[in-house]
């Protein structure tokens, strides 16, 4: 995996640009990652990101939008508003997690 510099952090990324090491992410990276995909990060975005990080730690995989609603309490409609177009993948990218694998 190539190493790159994002917001003065040395991080490992895959070919698409997703961070590959859970522990290399910290919250100070989030605004830069968000901006790179056209999202101006707000506190509400960070609440979703914080849930995804915590959930990944216990589950070992990235929560789907369904799980982010059912367990995290963030309505699907709001997820689409916060992370337009492809919410599941965009949330994962900003959170420094792999793309969700679940179908639903």
């Amino acid at each position: 995996m190539p190493v790159t510099t994002i917001a003065e952090h040395q991080v490992h990324v895959d070919a698409e640009g997703f961070l590959t090491e859970f522990d290399e992410w910290d919250p100070s990276l989030a605004p830069t990652l968000a901006k790179a995909i056209g999202i101006e990060l707000t506190d509400r975005h960070m609440e979703v990101i914080t849930f995804l990080r915590a959930d990944y730690k216990t589950q070992g995989e990235t929560a789907t939008t369904r799980r982010t609603q059912a367990v995290g309490g963030f309505p699907i409609k709001e997820q689409f508003a916060l992370f337009p177009g492809k919410p599941g993948k965009k949330m994962a990218y900003i959170a420094g997690l792999p793309k969700p694998k679940g179908c639903v």
Partner: protein, 172 residues
């Protein structure tokens, strides 16, 4: 692009320009899910999705039927109990549909997959549109009052074909 690192290409936030039309014509529980799962996946990828419910697919959008959809092993040669193929002679036995339905519902729930009504609610929240077939409504003597609140409308087949001009069409 101003970043000096690789950024995933998520396309436009306005959507991909891709449009998927899914025609749901079956009222068996196991045949409800393929359309729902594909619709949900497409919406999550920024694809515009319209679902058209016709014939037995009406059970998916009827208030008092969606939770009662059932699965029968009859006529399903792939049905197995564990790893053993289930003899078709057993399939029509009394109680078999109820048993198979309970098993399927449990397996679906164990995977965190929503029930049919909840799944449709999620699809609408994700920007998908639900349409009911006018001919089926007339045939079954069904009005909008019998159907989900979040239905976009009862339309004829020609209207659906017109509104899905250029879309990819899936018939289930």
């Amino acid at each position: 692009m101003s970043e000096d690192f690789v950024v995933p290409d998520f396309g436009s936030s306005e959507g991909t320009g891709r449009h998927l039309a899914i025609i749901c014509s079956k009222g068996n529980l196991d045949m409800a899910y393929p359309g729902l799962i594909l619709a949900n996946a497409a919406l999550g990828e920024g694809v515009q999705v319209d679902l058209f419910f016709t014939f037995w697919g009406f059970d998916m959008i009827m208030r008092d039927r969606a939770d009662e959809m059932a699965f029968s092993p009859a006529g399903n040669a792939a049905m197995r109990m564990g790893n053993v193929r289930m003899p078709q002679a057993l399939a029509p036995a009394p109680g078999m549909t109820g048993l198979a339905t309970r098993m399927l519902k449990k397996q679906i729930a164990d995977l965190g997959i929503p029930t049919v009504p909840d799944f449709l609610e999620q699809i609408v929240a994700s920007g998908g549109a639900l349409w009911a077939c006018k001919m089926s409504a007339d045939m079954f003597h069904v009005t909008e009052a019998d159907l989900r609140d979040d239905l976009s409308g009862i339309i004829n087949a020609a209207t659906f074909i017109e509104m899905t001009d250029g879309a990819q069409i899936l018939f289930i």
